[in-house]
Symmetry: C2
Subunit: 353 residues, 2 copies
């Protein structure tokens, strides 16, 4: 394997000294980039793009050509696992993801099995291998998965939801079925992330987009417990190097202490939590990733720079911080504003190290 030329992202996740704060952006390969929209148009559907090794590699690399980012992230979707489980994933215009065969009963759950990582999800591993080759050691590659709870919300609701009425009725009235579903998902996510690590992912992130819609009790029982089980089952060392794990629960600011107990190396923060307070709460256990409001990218470059300075100063001196947005970049922001964000981190953060 090629020597890694820039490892400050991996070092910061392990709270090892770095020359400056590393930076990447959730959904950095995406619709806000005209070159992405051009490639996407060539690919066909969104899932066609995910399944096309060459084009998935291309869109993964696009933001790295524009911005001095310290990590690449696999271009894929969080719903690849339920898709591989046979639920029939479609993306409807204006409606988001839709499953033709949602999971509603114990019998539906009983039919689900862990997909084969090469037969059913080989296209993801092909993308990981191809991106890793194309990166040629420039920066590390992040693999990822949705959390079991987040995947379950889509599988039970049959798509996006505002109230999460069906999946909540399941955890409230039939917790046994919910636990069976979350159990098979935890097994699948563990194998999926391990397969990504074997294929070349040098860090992994678990996206718990919907953990924040639960009560604290239910979060611990139905989301966090399964993420902890995944962390437990992951390959933690590969190619002679620690493979850091990042947990990101949107809306999880009230539960950081519990998240830090899972054994994850880092926690992703959304923008509602002050990163300085988060560091005081859990900074002795984990690194922190985040957390600029993605809507700050609608502001002027000068204001964006000011916000980067605020976040850096609130985190304070020393390693253990990966700068990022607090959620995915919005599709209608200007790439110049994304550049202002990344450049501000590059320019302002050395003072903190």
């Amino acid at each position: 394997m090629t020597q890694l030329k820039n490892d400050r992202f991996l070092r910061a996740l392990l709270r090892q000294p770095v020359d400056r704060t590393p930076v990447w952006m959730m959904r950095q390969a995406g619709r806000y980039l005209p070159e992405y929209r051009e490639t996407r148009a060539r690919a066909g559907s969104f899932m066609d793009l995910c399944r096309n090794t060459e084009l998935a590699t291309e869109v993964t690399l696009q933001p790295l050509r524009r911005f001095p980012l310290d990590a690449a992230i696999l271009f894929s979707d969080i719903l690849t696992i339920p898709d591989a489980m046979g639920l029939g994933l479609r993306f409807e215009a204006g409606e988001g993801p839709v499953f033709d065969r949602p999971v509603r009963s114990a019998a539906d759950v009983a039919r689900l099995g862990v997909p084969d990582m090469e037969d059913d999800l080989g296209y993801v591993m092909d993308a990981v291998r191809s991106i890793r080759r194309a990166l040629d050691g420039e920066v590390p590659l992040i693999g990822f998965s949705g959390s079991p709870w987040t995947l379950a919300t889509y599988m039970v609701e049959g798509g996006s939801s505002k109230t999460f009425g069906r999946v909540k009725a399941m955890i409230y009235d039939d917790p046994q079925t919910a636990h069976a579903l979350l159990g098979v998902l935890a097994d699948a996510v563990t194998e999926y992330l391990n397969a990504q690590i074997r294929a070349g992912a040098q860090a992994v992130q678990i996206f718990d987009t919907w953990g924040g819609v639960l009560t604290g009790r239910d979060y611990r029982e139905f989301s966090l417990a399964y993420m902890a089980r995944i962390v437990e089952g992951l390959i933690r060392e590969h190619e002679g190097r620690r493979v850091p794990v990042i947990l990101f629960t949107k809306g999880g600011g009230q539960w950081l202490e519990a998240m830090a107990e899972t054994g994850a190396d880092a926690l992703g923060l959304d923008w509602t939590t002050d990163i300085g307070e988060a560091r005081r709460r859990v900074g002795d256990k984990v690194a922190l990733q985040g957390n600029m409001d993605p809507s700050m990218l609608y502001a002027s470059p000068a204001r964006i720079r000011e916000e980067v300075e605020t976040i850096l100063s609130h985190f304070g001196p020393g390693s253990g911080h990966v700068m990022n947005l607090g959620h995915g970049i919005h599709p209608d922001v200007s790439p110049e504003h994304a550049a202002a964000f990344v450049n501000a981190v590059v320019e302002l953060s050395p003072a903190y190290h």
Copy 2:
């Protein structure tokens, strides 16, 4: 004025002894009730219903006929103030509220004035007076308003939003204009709530539906500071009785200490915060209202009852708790499940007093 027959809601907000925990539901007069849908169909548009004194009174009373609730809440909309400011409010099917003349610039803000509470918003005061008369002292009447920040989001975006890109660009790039807008809104909300109190509202709640989309710093500067100013300006005693003020910020669980400093009598909690922890944090300063997940009403009556018991036991013995949902009741829940919630509070809570 008629003697108030049931004052346990007002007493609990002031942390005075009560025989059982009082209960009401946010949006209790609403679409989940068939009798509401029938009245709504007779009224014409949603705003026609708000403006029709007789029908607004009718829908306010409907849930009280079904359930042993301890408070009524004025039937109205949070957008009455921007509507009265001349922004041209419409409700589009599937799209929610739309303003024909959104507020985008300092000049737009300069044109705004505090509406006249009888000339422009007299229909709200008429509804308060009529409902108060119709209640005949059975339970207290709650008046309400949206928070300045929440109103500003709709006024600047021109309707609902996912990213709050325009209003956030305003607070980030042009905070002076944002403060001017929030200032006139704070003045208007203060006069509006005071007019409701004079017309007969015996407690008031400020709904900060969108405070939780801000960073903690911006929440304090652009939402909480204006709610504190309103609390400062409110009539706190009327008809020889304290008029309690409830602050509800959805997603505000991380900021309860700051909210408790405003001088509000009570804080509304959404369901992501444990009410026992909230009591330990701020229970010496304020009462707490909430906080069952509204989606719990999709579960069975037995499960709903269990959750009520959990919330009561987490709050623990003594006064200072008003049971409620953590957000408005969803339109597609069954009234029988709402009954299970209210009845469980009536039956289980005396043990805690």
